[in-house]
């Protein structure tokens, strides 16, 4: 008998969880669709390294596959990997995390973020989130049953939250503060004073700080500062890290969560039911990354370092003001002088010049007036993109474009 054809009912959202139904779709998604349908697009919109995973790391993964190391691992991650992670934190940040109980290997930094919210937030409890910030923070807090309270940051304050804004966001339901430095999308970093100030706020307000430090190895000019440098914070700090950015391993999906025993145990409990364990192949590759990857990380860091000065200087020349970022691989130039909104600017640039950038508003309201440009793209492509942006601006806003490069280093000339 022929089955009756049943029309799918898309209108009814009643069977979808209300929180999920209410979540706005990611602002980045729209630009992804537009850019993907633009042939010959030059993209500064990519949030991942342009390098392939260093070969010695991939080779370790291939070897693991050949050897049939394809089983489940311990829920928390392979003991050998946790030991390497512990040794890494000790080597780089001089802090000790016990491989048994204070570390968890996750599916990318994103899972660690999701787990921290789910492990910490009771219904209605609040997470303070810096605006602009990575697209997942607020939605994941909401999906965990919590509320996201956004606090503004601006270019004038180097996209670092001010104490008064932090204090203002506090309520009896505040549980978590989420920070991410070096920052996506702004490229902002913290000084030691910033770190102390934020730590002081967290300690005084008895919050838990979730610090996403995945970009920390990609710090320029100075060594990046981790919140682990404040020992008093230890019991209130969940540190999220991962292999995607510095080791160019985005597709392997491997992250690290480090923190006090009770929180890591709670996160591990969720992880054990929902995920079981991270990929065994990725974990074996990550062991190699931590053991022998320092030179390759440094090679890529130096490449980004050269590009960041190049791209930031050219944006300043073109009248799109931006500071020279000291971390991650993004610049966040201001497009205010064009009089366009972030969305309009990004849309027109894509339509007229086939250059993809991400409007700052994809990362929160405070991103208005800015665009995020990634320099995890070859120098040739960056140069081509700059040429197109120059063409776009000279056509529409010739008054803001200047011919010669500004020399931001003239005064503090380095004595290398």
């Amino acid at each position: 008998m022929k089955p009756a054809i049943i029309e799918p009912i898309f209108q009814s959202q009643s069977r979808i969880n209300q929180d999920v139904a209410d979540l706005p779709p990611s602002g980045i998604r729209r630009f992804f669709d537009l850019a993907a349908n633009t042939p010959g697009v030059i993209s500064l919109g990519v949030g991942e390294p342009d390098f392939a995973t260093p070969w010695h790391i991939s080779e370790a993964g291939i070897h693991a596959l050949e050897m049939g190391q394809t089983s489940y691992t311990s829920n928390s991650g392979m003991p050998r990997l946790r030991e390497e992670v512990s040794a890494y934190f000790e080597r780089i940040h001089h802090c000790r995390y016990d491989p048994a109980g204070e570390l968890l290997i996750t599916i990318g930094g994103s899972e660690g973020l999701d787990l921290s919210f789910r492990a910490l937030l009771n219904p209605g409890e609040e997470a303070i989130i810096v605006d602009p910030s990575f697209v997942s923070y607020a939605p994941l807090a909401i999906l965990a049953g919590g509320k996201a309270i956004r606090i503004p940051t601006t270019a004038e304050n180097g996209f670092v939250p001010r104490r008064e804004h932090l204090e203002k966001a506090l309520s009896p339901r505040t549980k978590i503060l989420v920070v991410n430095y070096p920052n996506n999308p702004t490229g902002a970093t913290l000084t030691m004073e910033n770190v102390e100030e934020i730590a002081d706020f967290v300690l005084r307000s008895d919050l838990i700080l979730v610090s996403d430090e995945i970009y920390l190895p990609l710090s320029y000019e100075t060594k990046g500062i981790s919140f682990t440098s404040i020992p008093e914070l230890r019991e209130q700090l969940v540190l999220l890290h991962g292999f995607s950015k510095a080791w160019a391993m985005t597709g392997w999906r491997l992250g690290i969560a480090a923190g006090p025993r009770d929180i890591i145990a709670a996160m591990t409990k969720i992880h054990q039911y929902s995920i079981m364990c991270a990929s065994s192949l990725a974990q074996i590759a990550a062991i190699e990354a931590l053991k022998n990857g320092a030179d390759e990380v440094e090679r890529m860091r130096r490449e980004y370092d050269a590009r960041r000065r190049f791209i930031a200087s050219h944006f300043n020349r073109l009248g799109l003001d931006c500071f020279i970022p000291k971390g991650a691989f993004y610049v966040f130039p201001s497009i205010r002088r064009t009089g366009l909104s972030s969305e309009e600017f990004a849309l027109r640039l894509l339509e007229d010049e086939r250059v993809a950038v991400v409007p700052g508003t994809a990362f929160g309201e405070c991103g208005e007036g800015h665009i995020r440009c990634s320099y995890a793209t070859s120098l040739e492509e960056i140069r081509e993109a700059i040429n197109h942006i120059e063409h776009f601006l000279t056509k529409n806003h010739p008054e803001i474009v200047s011919e010669s490069l500004p020399l931001p280093y003239r005064e503090e000339k380095a004595e290398h």
């Binding site: 990611s26 980045i28 630009f31 992804f32 850019a35 993907a36 697009v41 993209s43 919109g45 990519v46 949030g47 991942e48 342009d50 392939a52 990575f134 697209v135 997942s136 996506n184 130096r302 490449e303 050269a306 000065r309 190049f310 200087s313 993809a356 991400v358 994809a362 120098l379 040739e380 010669s404 490069l405 020399l407 931001p408 280093y409 003239r410 000339k413 380095a414 290398h416």
Partner: protein, 162 residues
């Protein structure tokens, strides 16, 4: 790191960078960078700026051959004199003195295999100090000067990601 090394690193990345761009990348002013590049050109530190062409894909194909050459070193000159007599031929691309079973590794290029055979027979083997040669025709270049030359599927990166 000394300025010279930083400038060289930038030029090795992309020889078409302007002095202004290099200045921004190495934290120096443009005049200093110009002077430093000029000095390095004069001193033979920078030898030139050539396009890096993929021989596998260009239209005018050439034939290349690696020749192992065993030679009799000379009193007072060692291998230098005989190396010079070889490297002065314009068709010789590279000459290396190496340890192991032979002495000089000579890389030569020609339009046809006949060109190369003629070079070995008429120019190389007849040199008085050359004891023997073994020629290896190059079949395929996979990687040269740090760049992979063979075509492989382009890495797929989604154009916009968070």
């Amino acid at each position: 790191m000394p300025l010279q090394n930083k400038i060289l690193e930038a030029l090795e990345r992309d020889a078409r960078l302007s002095p202004a761009d290099i200045a921004v990348m190495v934290e120096a002013d443009e005049e200093t960078v110009k002077e430093e590049i000029h000095r390095m050109e004069k001193e033979g530190i920078i030898l030139g700026y050539k396009a890096h062409i993929n021989p596998e894909r260009r239209e005018a194909q050439k034939v290349a051959c690696l020749i192992e050459v065993s030679v009799q070193p000379e009193r007072g000159h060692g291998f230098d004199k005989i190396a010079e007599r070889i490297y002065n031929y314009p068709e010789v691309q590279s000459v290396f003195l190496v340890s192991g079973g032979y002495d000089l590794l000579v890389v030569i290029e020609g339009k046809t295999m006949r060109d190369i055979a003629n070079f070995v027979i008429e120019k190389l083997s007849i040199l008085p100090n050359v004891r023997s040669t073994a020629s290896h025709f190059l079949l395929k270049k996979y990687k040269e000067l740090g760049t992979v030359l063979v075509q492989y599927p382009e890495r797929e990166r989604i154009p916009v990601s968070p």
